[in-house]
Symmetry: C2
């Protein structure tokens, strides 16, 4: 897919920066780049603004809302001696389904928000307020969704969801109309384009498609609920359906001419603001890490009366009862932190993120959001019950899938590496091997641990958390090991065929490539 070239007129406004703090060159330079408008009538100068911070705030809000729905799941009361009986399992399953569906729906809303603000690149006060209204409704979606999950056969749940979604769609349409009314707020490519108006109607059509379908779902909900749910599912998977039919049509009839707006194509290769994918991921990782400490703070501060009566006022003895929970806390924090670290390392070398990578990232993050549940499960169960092993297995599965989908992001990026990857990290080169090692560490550790729970009968949550804490040292070791392996390979090859030592690095990458493919 061809992407339009960067227009001139960007990054000119150094005049704004004259008295900015010189201590923060990258920050203020970045700020000035996005603050600096393209030449526009001076009367607008004051009221138009960079959208950077508005988007960062929206990302933070949406990521937290998407993740926080794990709390009702992990706060489901489980007594230590209670086997995972059927009714409880069913309750947990419902709540987990709510969490996953909320996560998916909120991220769909987020993706449409990204597209919208790829079209509208600059904001003013009115757009900021409209966006806040949109955010308010997006944060309200989880509630309507819990209603749907609790009363699947009642019209009200699905109706309230549809009403929210319709209003969100309408607000987005208003934002687009407002943006085209004041073209200096638009994306540079569209601003400079000759047929702005055709762009406008094309984009409006794409945006209003979803609300129209939601109206249909709302009407159907009065007639027969299951049909309404089917329509809802259809709306969520609409982009993929569209894409499939288009792909098939292209295969049969030969490629059609490319769509003119580079957004709203629903092509898996469509660019998705990398900055926003990062901001959203950061939000999820941060809230997950915090939910863990919140659990500790709320539950593990002993009651002063209890300490006085039960432990003769000795706080240390009371706290030593919580010992395993602190271990669980540090273990879980390390896992979240390192998954973030791997994600960070990966996205450092991604130059452009696509819709497909965004989707894989979302799935990975949905599993990361399940980590507070894993934490809760592994520290709530008393030792030596069958539940303890089950809890560890669930944790391993969550960690395995979260890290596996991170790996998949890399695989998707490698598939189109010239467009999406920094040249340091492409096939060949030491960094490629490091990245492969980093990304495969967590899936393999989780897999091995999962297998160990079946082999070792003495495996306990303590060992599991200790393993979690040890992993970061593995990261440091990894770099050393990869370097040693590369050195040995280089030495071997230089002995076999002098002057072709460069090949060794390509060899190394070839190995990892074959493993990516498998």
């Amino acid at each position: 897919m061809s992407v339009p070239s960067l227009l001139p007129g960007r990054g000119q406004g150094e005049d704004i920066e004259e008295d900015a703090s010189p201590l923060l060159p990258s920050a203020t330079a970045a700020e000035s780049l996005s603050l600096s408008p393209r030449p526009s009538p001076p009367s607008h100068r004051g009221s138009e603004q960079s959208s950077h911070r508005l988007l960062a705030y929206s990302d933070a809000l949406i990521s937290i809302v998407a993740t926080v729905m794990i709390l009702p799941v992990s706060h489901t009361k489980i007594r230590a001696d209670q086997e995972l009986e059927e009714s409880l399992q069913q309750l947990l399953t419902t709540k987990i389904a709510v969490y996953i569906m909320t996560f998916l729906i909120v991220t769909v809303a987020w993706a449409s928000h990204i597209r919208l603000f790829q079209v509208i690149e600059r904001i003013d006060d009115v757009l900021a307020l409209l966006n806040l209204a949109c955010m308010m409704l997006i944060t309200f979606l989880p509630y309507t969704f819990s209603l749907m999950a609790s009363f699947p056969n009642d019209t009200l749940g699905i109706l309230s969801f549809c009403v929210c979604a319709i209003i969100i769609g309408l607000i987005q349409a208003v934002i687009v109309i407002y943006g085209f009314h004041r073209p200096y707020l638009l994306n540079a490519h569209i601003y400079a384009s000759e047929d702005q108006i055709s762009y406008k109607y094309q984009i409006l059509k794409m945006i209003l498609q979803a609300p129209a379908l939601f109206v249909l779902a709302g009407i159907l909900s009065f007639i027969y609920c299951p049909v309404a749910y089917a329509v809802l599912a259809f709306i969520i998977f609409l982009p993929y359906v569209t894409q499939c039919t288009q792909w098939c049509r292209n295969k049969i009839k030969g490629p059609k001419e490319l769509q003119r707006v580079p957004f709203y194509t629903f092509h898996p290769n469509e660019p998705l603001s990398k900055e926003r994918v990062e901001a959203f991921s950061d939000g999820v990782f941060a809230i997950v890490a915090t939910l863990i400490i919140l659990d500790i703070c709320e539950d593990n501060v002993p009651d002063s009366k209890e300490v006085a009566e039960k432990f003769n006022g000795k706080l240390i003895e009371a706290l030593s009862e919580y010992g395993p929970e602190f271990l669980a806390y540090f273990g879980s924090f390390v896992t979240v932190g390192l998954l973030w670290f791997v994600h960070h390392s990966l996205f450092l070398y991604i130059t452009k993120s696509t819709r497909l990578m965004g989707l894989l990232n979302t799935i990975s993050l949905a599993f990361v959001g399940g980590l507070p549940l894993a934490f809760r499960l592994t520290h709530e169960f008393a030792a030596n019950s069958r539940n303890e092993l089950e809890a560890i297995q669930i944790s391993c599965v969550i960690i395995f899938l979260a890290s596996l989908f991170q790996f998949a992001i890399w695989a998707a990026a490698l598939y189109n590496e010239k467009e999406t990857l920094h040249h340091h990290i492409r096939y060949g080169g030491k960094e490629h091997a490091f990245m492969f090692a980093k990304l495969s560490l967590y899936p393999s550790v989780a897999f091995v641990t999962f297998c160990l729970t079946y082999v070792l009968s003495k495996f306990s949550t303590e060992i599991f958390h200790l393993m979690q804490i040890i992993v970061p040292f593995a990261f440091v070791l990894l770099r050393i090991i990869v370097q040693i392996v590369l050195a040995i390979l280089a030495w071997l090859f230089s002995r076999l065929k002098p002057r072709t030592s460069v090949l060794t690095e390509e060899e190394e990458s070839a190995i990892s490539v074959s493993e990516v493919a498998s």
Copy 2:
């Protein structure tokens, strides 16, 4: 205070950007600016990274940890018919004290983190892992703090707090040593400076000051707890004490020569990364907005059995019982959103943030963090009790103080406007008047509402929440009103003295200045 000039060698690495998506010019340009290293040995190219995302993640984590401690406060069970009796008030007071102290201490840790990464501008894998370790301990601080609050006379609480703080200090020292060991990671100013080593020892001395004092506090805690607390308080206010003594000395002996490192001066005018202040504030606003929806989702989904029995299976009737709570939700969300909006508008025009502005911002955010409590109070109390009015009054006080300190940030910026404010917003000019109007809207609305609770006996939470929802329209009106007022003034002046219509804008600003001063 003079600030060193921006060094050359920044913003050169356009080569990295060659295949970045051109659809996101500002994002990728910013990325490339911070990704692009100054000329460094090519062997380091792969492993050194921009610190931008690491810092964004740290900011998100710290802001959420700081704010989330409001949850234990707002989750304190209050029955609707229960008067705010003494024991409950005492419990609330303790918990609020824990919240405020946690917020302060975490933000002190955050400020030292900002300083650290103003010295170290680029990171590699080792620094990323060290930083994560540091984050883990910072997120653990609230726990040690709750322990201190619950058992003020036990050595263990204060000891665990000191141990955490000491380890954080030591990790920071290791980061500095590591950074100076690989100077290409350093701040451009220090990197180019001739006496790197003297910088190193100066910075290390400043960083290790706090851990040394914490060791002292730890030892003292074994002897006599109150003294240890005094030492802790001393450490927190150390920067201000240092600053005062320095200021006095300068007044008496005349100004000493300026310190060479522009960070770690504890001068109120010391720059504090504006980008990070914004990121931290965004985190706080986002988590506050989400805590509100979380409350709704956890408490206000009716039980399906209850609906079947009590309301004959009619969901609407069950939900209409929650009507006031939805009103409370939307009202609170609007308030949080608009406080963010005002903050966003203000920081858009701030070109450099200082320590003093950072402090005022922190205090403002601490009150913003209290909004979930206000939400809880206003929707938990049944109508027509004395408590209801009290709850509204508490909410008004929280909103008033949060917005007042935002106003104070502006006042602090105006005090030194040439350095800190964008020229559009300085004295004179329409934008100045708009900003004044925006910033004074919330304090005045909160104040008027507070007074109304004493005058109107019929004032209820419903009216309060409706007022909250109406405020955004006031923002849109505001712009119109200010424009009309300015037009009238301009017309009046043009009639009185032709050709001096520019003065009217200065008049307008003079009014606001006098009010800022008062």
